[in-house]
């Protein structure tokens, strides 16, 4: 699977309270959640995000609450991929479980600048910064997790088993 989009860049420890503030957790509607995505960190996100855009962030992305509303809001905003130096563990499994592509790649997350055009090949683990010409390699997911992704998320594995 190849993904291509422009970078929206954030720093370290982007927590789930800023990804989707708790005051909006009285709904599980994906569009409503997307309408408030990143609101307490970056008020411009909702107006500038374009389908396919890629978030590049620092360490411990998605720390804090277990709210699945956070990856749901990001996915429903049109973000195709999140690249970070590292992910908080519940966010990591939630993203995999709902089918939001994420890649842990400290080098790419560091090098990518706001607005850069990136292309990521999830099968080969190669990330290309088209704007700068740099190329990065990541470890592909283990087979167990690839199976979840191929099944369209964790619940898909029940139908397939």
């Amino acid at each position: 699977m190849k993904l291509r989009g422009n970078v929206i860049k954030y720093g370290d420890n982007v927590d789930t309270d800023v990804i989707i503030p708790a005051r909006y957790l009285n709904t599980s509607d994906h569009k409503e959640l997307a309408a408030h995505c990143m609101e307490d960190l970056d008020k411009t996100f909702v107006s500038r995000v374009r389908p396919g855009d890629i978030i590049a962030a620092g360490q411990n992305f998605g720390c804090g609450s277990s709210r699945e509303h956070a990856p749901i809001a990001i996915k429903a905003s049109g973000i195709s991929l999140v690249i970070a130096k590292s992910f908080a563990r519940i966010f990591y499994r939630n993203a995999i479980n709902i089918g939001l592509p994420i890649v842990e790649c400290p080098e790419a997350a560091e090098a990518a600048a706001e607005g850069d055009e990136l292309e990521a090949d999830l099968d080969s683990g190669v990330i290309r910064d088209i704007t700068t010409g740099q190329e990065f390699r990541t470890e592909p997911f283990p087979e167990f997790i690839q199976n979840i992704i191929k099944s369209g998320g964790l619940l898909g594995t029940i139908h397939n088993s």
Binding site: D15, R23, S66, E68, I90, I158
Partner: protein
């Protein structure tokens, strides 16, 4: 293979003799937990499977605590969705207003968790039950749905950091000060994907309530779980609360740890985590004059009876400073009742605090004490992220019940040692 406590529990629940750090396993679960925020998402996912029953109606629990009693119409709809689902599925352990409490205080109190068990909860602070020697960890709503359907969850077996405790806590110092100082050392991602394993001679000096508080905040160091060696105190708690027969797992003497911290509890001082991360920990030598607008005493971290007793000891016969809105939230109905019978509620009210029904409420900026722009709160809660308790420019300072009570009295962030002249 020399396994840690967590690895032994994961192996036993995966039908394996041994597991290694990094291995992916599909494990049997003893309890699946959800609340009024995370369960609706799980119920929607579960519905797509077209199943008419959960894997075991005694092993699923839903607790209405975050925005309950319903804070608005949408919250009311979410609670109703949970209520209807639990009725349809015949879920035994559904806790609504009148029976509910903050989930991580309620689950141990109701005896729903025991040593050696494996618990997943669609709430990050599910790691609390490690205090009783269970492997328990926070997951998302899809994991909850998968768990309700199959009785299983996938895990990457974690490596571990060992915290070797010795000594005894000084007066007015509690488990909250211990965990805030530990997170100050590790950082908010210092234990990312790992277990935090607590053991050593100092364990006997920590009450079960202290341990529940410490394990509760393991997630704030990024950990997958926090877990305590099981001793008589833990077993006594499990028996008293009617938990299942405990299965005690001990870490192998030569178990492999990524890091070992030796902590003398006697060295721990009252500790406060400054905005906007829980690892921004300071002791009072580095805390200046910080005026507060609100004090919150409660939450899954610090809403147990022992926490209210610590706060009441400081507030007894004192008045809360004018302009400090002090909100005390017993974590469960039982804690509320016990606090009433022991006269703690009278102490709080006479000091000028309000006492609320159990709810997560202000901890996550839900209701019952939201902060305006620029306001500051000292809170016994677990997170101080941007906007956590209200307006994005408000600030939350995390502290123990004793420190929160002392601060309410003076109107600025204050050590209990100062107020009690200790």
């Amino acid at each position: 293979m020399a396994m840690t406590m967590t690895q032994k529990i994961l192996a036993a629940h995966s039908g394996l003799d041994e597991v290694r750090a990094g291995q992916l396993v599909l494990a049997d679960i003893d309890l699946v937990l959800g609340n009024d925020i995370t369960s609706p998402v799980a119920i929607n996912e579960f519905a797509k499977l077209g199943r008419d029953s959960v894997f075991d109606r005694d092993k699923v629990t839903m607790i209405m605590d975050h925005f309950a009693p319903n804070k608005d119409i949408k919250a009311a709809e979410q609670c109703r969705q949970c209520r209807d689902f639990c009725a349809d599925m015949g879920i035994t352990h559904f806790y609504d207003v009148g029976e509910m409490g903050i989930e991580h205080a309620l689950v141990p109190e109701k005896g729903l968790v025991s040593a050696g068990q494996l618990v997943i909860g669609a709430d990050s602070h599910t790691c609390t039950y490690g205090a009783l020697g269970a492997f328990s960890t926070g997951v998302g709503s899809t994991d909850m749905a998968f768990g309700m359907a199959t009785g299983k969850a996938w895990f990457k077996v974690p490596s571990a950091i060992k915290f070797n405790l010795r000594g005894e806590l000084r007066k007015y110092v509690s488990g909250k000060d211990v965990i805030l100082s530990i997170i100050g050392m590790t950082g908010v991602d210092g234990a990312l994907y790992k277990s935090m394993e607590f053991s050593g001679a100092g364990l006997s000096a920590l009450t079960v309530s202290d341990r529940l508080c410490i394990a509760n905040m393991a997630i704030e160091a990024g950990a997958k779980n926090g877990i305590f060696a099981v001793d008589e105190a833990a077993l006594g708690y499990i028996r008293t609360h009617g938990g299942a027969e405990p299965v005690v797992y001990e870490a192998a003497p030569d178990a492999d740890y990524d890091e070992v911290y030796d902590i003398d509890l006697t060295d721990i001082e009252p500790t406060v985590a400054f905005p906007h991360l829980p690892d921004n920990a300071r002791t009072f030598a580095d805390i200046g004059n910080i005026r507060i607008d609100q004090a919150v005493i409660g939450s899954c971290t610090n809403g147990r009876l022992e926490d209210l007793e610590a706060a009441a000891e400081i507030l007894r016969g004192r008045k809360i400073a004018k302009g400090v809105r002090t909100i005390v939230i017993p974590a469960t109905q039982q804690v509320y009742l016990d606090a009433m019978e022991r006269g703690l509620l009278k102490i709080f009210i006479e000091a000028g605090a309000v006492v609320s029904t159990p709810t997560c409420g202000p901890c996550l900026g839900g209701h019952m004490g939201i902060l305006a722009a620029g306001e500051r709160a000292v809170a016994t809660t677990n997170r101080n992220f941007v906007g956590r308790m209200g307006h994005p420019t408000s600030e939350v300072y995390l502290a123990s019940p004793a420190t929160a009570a002392a601060s309410a009295v003076t109107g600025r962030i204050t050590s209990p040692w100062e107020v009690m002249d200790a």
